[in-house]
């Protein structure tokens, strides 16, 4: 039950964005990934989640090699990502956003839609309940019927987390869940992440808010210039001289 990235390299026109990046984590882990802007963190996410092919290297998930799998196949296998800039379905309501994320709906097939109307109706009722449960878990009740495009930045981050939950993933890759979110809501999101992790869902989190992140995760990876610079227990990693030089400019 581990997630592993082995020797991932990615080059654009000869420019190496990722250089032999390897990481591994248990599927129920709570891991942070930090690094200065341009370190390659989001690119690593894109490669891991199948949005970009690596130049070399491979990803295994729960013992299965994910090489060559499309992004949607990887998500169905249990690894769901969110995006740095939230990609909400802006014309759908919050509830519909969640409902659209759930897998295996007969009504999402033209044949099922017209040939099995009873099943479609039952599934929709069940799905609405599931979506409402996620909505109240994330405290989005007041905006459940609003268009997602009208939400605040923080609410959109929560919505993306909620959509990921509807897929019932084993591992969620969060790209800057606290960016642009007010401090109160950050505490809220952290609380939810802890709770979900307690239920066995793993998290790999890119975040610049080191203060929040170190309180949340049990282990940190640090990237710089496309390579892993350090890894380990958060307090120890942040005390590391090389990390301070790269990330904090040596002054902190």
């Amino acid at each position: 039950m581990t997630f592993e990235a082995v020797d991932i390299c990615k080059a654009f026109d000869g420019f190496e964005v990722l250089r032999n990046v390897s990481m591994s984590m248990p599927l129920d882990g709570l891991i942070g990934l930090i690094g200065p802007n341009g370190a390659g963190k989001s690119t690593l996410f894109s490669v891991i989640s199948g949005f970009m092919p690596p130049s070399s290297g491979h990803v295994t998930f729960d013992g299965v090699s994910m090489n060559g799998m499309s992004a949607s196949t990887r998500a169905r296998a249990g690894m769901v990502r969110t995006f740095q800039v939230p990609k909400e379905f802006s014309h759908l309501s919050v509830r519909e956003n969640l409902m659209a994320a759930a897998p295996g709906q007969a009504g999402e097939n033209l044949t099922g839609l017209f040939l099995r109307p009873g099943l479609v109706r039952r599934q929709e009722d069940g799905l609405r309940k599931r979506a409402d449960a996620v909505i109240s878990f994330l405290r989005l009740d007041r905006v459940a019927d609003s268009s997602a495009g009208l939400l605040s930045g923080g609410q959109k981050k929560l919505l993306e987390l909620g959509r990921a939950l509807m897929v019932e993933p084993k591992l969620i890759l969060l790209d800057e869940p606290f960016a642009g979110v007010n401090p109160v809501l950050i505490g809220e999101i952290m609380e939810r992440i802890r709770e979900l992790n307690g239920r066995g869902i793993g998290f790999l989190i890119i975040e610049h808010d080191l203060d929040a992140l170190t309180r949340l995760v049990s282990r940190l990876y640090v990237m710089d210039q496309g390579a892993i610079l350090a890894e380990g227990e958060p307090v120890a990693v942040l005390a590391d001289k090389a990390v301070r030089d790269a990330y904090l400019g040596g002054e902190a």
Binding site: A71, V80, F89, H91, M99, P103, E108, L110, L113
Partner: protein
């Protein structure tokens, strides 16, 4: 006169089936299909040839829908991973390929000479007004069923995913759904509608030749949905009715415009439509029935 009006109604309803399909494709999943007439042609020839070999019309109409729908499947499979504009070119190429195959495969389609003597619908009724009226009524029923089907799809879980595709394809992929699968289904359904339209056309005109299936047909349909408003059932209806009324009505306009010959009139018609399209895309890109709150 009444018979002439009915003829216009029938052709308009046939075009309406084409408009519904194209409008669903572009308005819902943003497919720019420039080869719609290819599916229309496949439907027309499938039903015509089957009927001539003795297959009952109900079966030949179903076969037309299935053949056109299935033809859309490989097109979707190979081209939906392309960018929008490439998809447009591939579909345009597809419809021309269909036409050229019809021209060359003489053993099957009789080439440029075409297929004459296609059985009419309602052949038990006397030729003329009654049969025409029955055909128009049946077409109206089919159009209503198509409109209902599209409405049902848009307001279903499938429609929800379609809207999600329009809002953000990447997010949908990240959640484990393959946008291409939904686009292919929309493409196949629209193609099947075009196939049914083709069957109606063949059995109404009773004589089909490859020259009836040129890209201009596709672009007439595009004109209709751009004028009426893309992605709305009402838009397809209004646009198609206006376009067909204009195309037919302008035949008589020559009487009122001095110094214009028959040939010049044909060019003038296209010119006016072109001007309208330019004005619409500039000042009212959402069409007549589009969202009035947005520009």
């Amino acid at each position: 006169m009444l018979s002439y009006l009915l003829a216009i109604v029938i052709i308009t309803l046939i075009y309406l089936l084409l408009s519904f399909g194209l409008s669903l494709q572009y308005g819902s999943v943003g497919l720019i299909n420039f080869g719609h007439v290819g599916f229309f042609a496949i439907g027309a020839y499938t039903s015509a040839l089957l009927a001539l070999s003795g297959v009952p019309l109900l079966a030949s109409f179903c076969a037309a829908a299935i053949a056109a729908g299935l033809a859309a499947w490989p097109i979707g499979l190979i081209s939906l991973r392309l960018r929008d504009d490439y998809f447009a070119i591939v579909t345009l190429g597809f419809s021309e390929t269909v036409r050229i195959i019809i021209v060359s495969e003489k053993w099957l389609t009789n080439g440029v000479q075409g297929v004459p003597g296609i059985p009419r619908l309602f052949s038990s009724l006397p030729v003329g007004f009654e049969a025409q009226l029955a055909t128009a009524a049946l077409l109206l029923l089919v159009c209503a069923a198509a409109a209902f089907t599209i409405w049902r799809i848009i307001n279903s879980p499938f429609g929800r995913v379609i809207q999600a595709i329009r809002d953000n394809e990447d997010a949908l992929k990240a959640l484990g759904k393959d946008p291409a699968r939904f686009k292919i289904q929309v493409l196949m359904l629209s193609a099947a509608l075009a196939g049914i339209a083709g069957a109606f056309y063949a059995h109404y005109i009773t004589f089909i030749i490859p020259e009836q299936f040129v890209p201009l047909v596709t672009f007439y349909v595009w004109m209709a949905i751009i004028i009426g408003g893309v992605g709305r059932i009402s838009g397809a209806i209004v646009g198609t009715v206006l376009l067909m009324t204009f195309l037919e009505g302008s035949r008589f306009m020559r009487d009122f415009i001095p110094g214009v010959s028959e040939v010049e009139m044909a060019s003038l018609r296209i010119g006016v439509i072109g001007l309208l399209l330019v004005l619409f895309t500039l000042y009212r890109p959402q069409g007549l029935m589009g969202d009035y709150t947005k520009r």
